[in-house]
Amino acid sequence: MSDLGEQFVTEARELIRQATDDLIVLERDGGSPERIDRVFRAFHTLKGSAGVVELPAMSVMLHAAEDLLAGVRQGTLGSGPDIIDAALACLDQVSSWVDHFETAGALPAQAGDDGRVVAERLRSFLPAEAGEPPRRAAGKSAADREAGLPEWVARLIAADRDVIASRMPRRPSALSAISYEPIAGCFYNGDDPLQLMRLVPGLLAFHIEPREAFPALQAIDPYACNLRLQAISAGAPDEIVRIFRLVPDQVHITSIPLDALPGPLSAPSDTDQALIRTVIEAQCELLRVSDRTDDFAGCTGAAARVATNALRHGEQPQLADSVQRAAAMALAQRDTRPLLTVLENALAVLGDTTPAAVAETAGGSSAGAASATERPAERVLRVSEAKIEALVNLAGELVVAKNALAHSARRIEQDLGGHEAAALVQRDQDAIDRLVVELHGTILQLRMVPMTQVFRSFPRLVRDVSRQLDKNVALVTSGETAEADKAIVDRLFEPLVHLLRNAVDHGIESPGQRRAAGKPETATISIEASRMGDRLLMEVTDDGRGIDPAVVRRKAAEKRLVPLDELDALTDEQVIDLVFAPGFSTAAEVSDISGRGIGMDVVRTVVEQMGGRVSLASRPGAGTTVRLDMPMTIAMSRIMVVEAGGQVFGIAMDAVSETVRVAPDRIRRIKNNLGLVLRERVVPIVSLAELMKLPERAKQTAVPRLLVVVEAAGRIAAFEIDAIRDRLDVVLKPMQGLLANARGYAGTTLLGNGQVLLVLDVKEILP
């Protein structure tokens, strides 16, 4: 994708997010003028950017949204939930299109229709005279149109009516009004607003005024821009948008109906058109024979002049210009062909009077409509410069250290003895080792991101769900800045969505019930992130009805989640924990929002896969708190999967120094133990099956033994095993429940086939 496209995608997502946030606050707290203004500007900038990357369907839809918001801004429309819904739906559509644009470089094929549906919904809120539904536009009189112009445009026209009339082309293709209010600091950005205005093609009117009255010269800040520049142009709208593409937030471009301006607007008649064609055809004839005449230059020059004048008369200035350029070329080359080609091209253009249809950029398959809860396709990782700098420095040191190793190798070859060489290489190896560890740590730091991006979509989620359920819920978030590994942060999204939906759906009572219970009608759900050492804690708390252990007990019994006799033995706390059991759902009926019997068990599964823990505390009538205790990073461990005594175990590769197959006769009995001499060291042999109290397989004396030599905490041993199965990178989960205190295990992990693998803690089990 082009740089422009990429920039658009990034900016659009940022604007969508900002507008969504503001719309939600607008609905909840009512609108301060600043906030309404901000929402309006966000939509406006989005529209402008869509124009720059040439997505007309998006511009058209956003234009409708802008009209709606203009109504809200002027106070002619309220900011009721229906209007907010429509505006949010518009943002959803934009968001889905942006995703599609990012992957396919264009909007989906049906974007035009989809956009129209959204635009019509947006326009349905506008009073008939303010909105411009397409079906009415055609029948409007010029007076209607002029009356419908924004006030500043009308003022601009009124001020320069004569100039406009005198400069109006006979057949303008489009008219635009531009209002450019450069930000005060624009000079520091290198902007020269007047220069931009000078670039505007087809200028009909220009106006410049101070935004606020100028102070006295003694008090003026020469580098604070306090100007408003306005213009009316008959130039191509694309061109105008391109000129102001770098300041879309400071410029407002409005299209003006062609008949709203004074001036000679009568299009050249058909007879005119025919006449121009005839004139140009005659010049072509003349040129075809001019090769044979002596007066080549005179003939060509005359033909070009006549054709140019005819085209100017017919309001085809661009064609006229290209004829002029071609004539110059023809004269220089003493060849009429360049001019003939351009004239024939002009004839073709004149013959084709049907307006070019606005072609929708089509391409790619249609994207599924993104629902509000779907994760945006955003995969950007923002990294601070300082972190990158640290990485680069480390990498540089690493290169130097590596080069030193090469040097050492040469010296070993040339003039050093073995021992000295080993020491030398060892020293370099230590240096590299230190750097690599540091590098690794820094790279892990790069992946640390704040929870902000996950929290971002929650206000919208809670708003939509609570509105669907007719509940009033305020979401309070805190600790957005707590950081964790990007993999953790990304994966937390889904469980948190489940928790929030559950809280609104099951936790929060209806406003009536809350009133009856003496609670405020508006419920509060808080979501809080914090850092505790190397753990990330998340708490989702609601002040709803809480979980009644008796209800859970009954449900669990009905669903046979736990054998009845065991159920009776469980404490209330343990019973409440059953909501995480697969197949448990406390919802009386399956709703759209949650309660399909999945949800809480999904939360537990996802969290535990990352090496985290979920717990829940609830007080009937007072609310529920779900607590997620997550590692800050997903620590991947490389393990070797071995088989012994008919079971499989994992051994951390860190601890494994080698695997050897030895003939039984090399194994000696040393005191009460077996052992062997390996690389001048005596290594005790331990049967892993025996160590794990498993039945040992009968040994055939002649068969070589398979040994895994492990080292930990300065001790060495060889585990005798039956087979090596695999080497894997896994996330180790700590031992839980009844096994939490079992010694000898570093943790568990899930194998691809769903089997739980126990990973040994070599340090603990070494005899």
Binding site: D192, L194, L217, P222, C225, N226, L227
Partner: protein, 84 residues
């Protein structure tokens, strides 16, 4: 220097006046309260420079050699002088 004191006591904007001209222009406008601004040799003036001309409220000396400025900008400035 694209902004300078003219022989006739006017402030002359000469050629393409960059943003850096704003500061010296302001000083001249402050120190020469009666001086007119001579736009005749001006081909472009940076918005910051234009803003000061506007803020000074002084009529420029024209006509400006640049067609765009003469056509679009000068009519927006206080009128009085074709003198000089």
């Amino acid at each position: 220097m694209t902004v300078r004191r003219g022989d006739d006591g006017a402030i002359v904007l000469d050629g393409v006046c960059p943003v850096e001209d704003a500061e010296p222009l302001l000083q001249m406008l402050q120190s020469m309260p009666a001086a007119q601004v001579d736009l005749r040799p001006c081909r472009h003036l940076h918005t910051a420079v234009l803003q000061l001309v506007l803020a000074s409220g002084r009529a420029p000396i024209g006509p400006c050699g640049d067609t765009w400025i003469a056509q679009w900008l000068v009519p927006k400035l206080p009128r009085c002088g074709t003198g000089g």
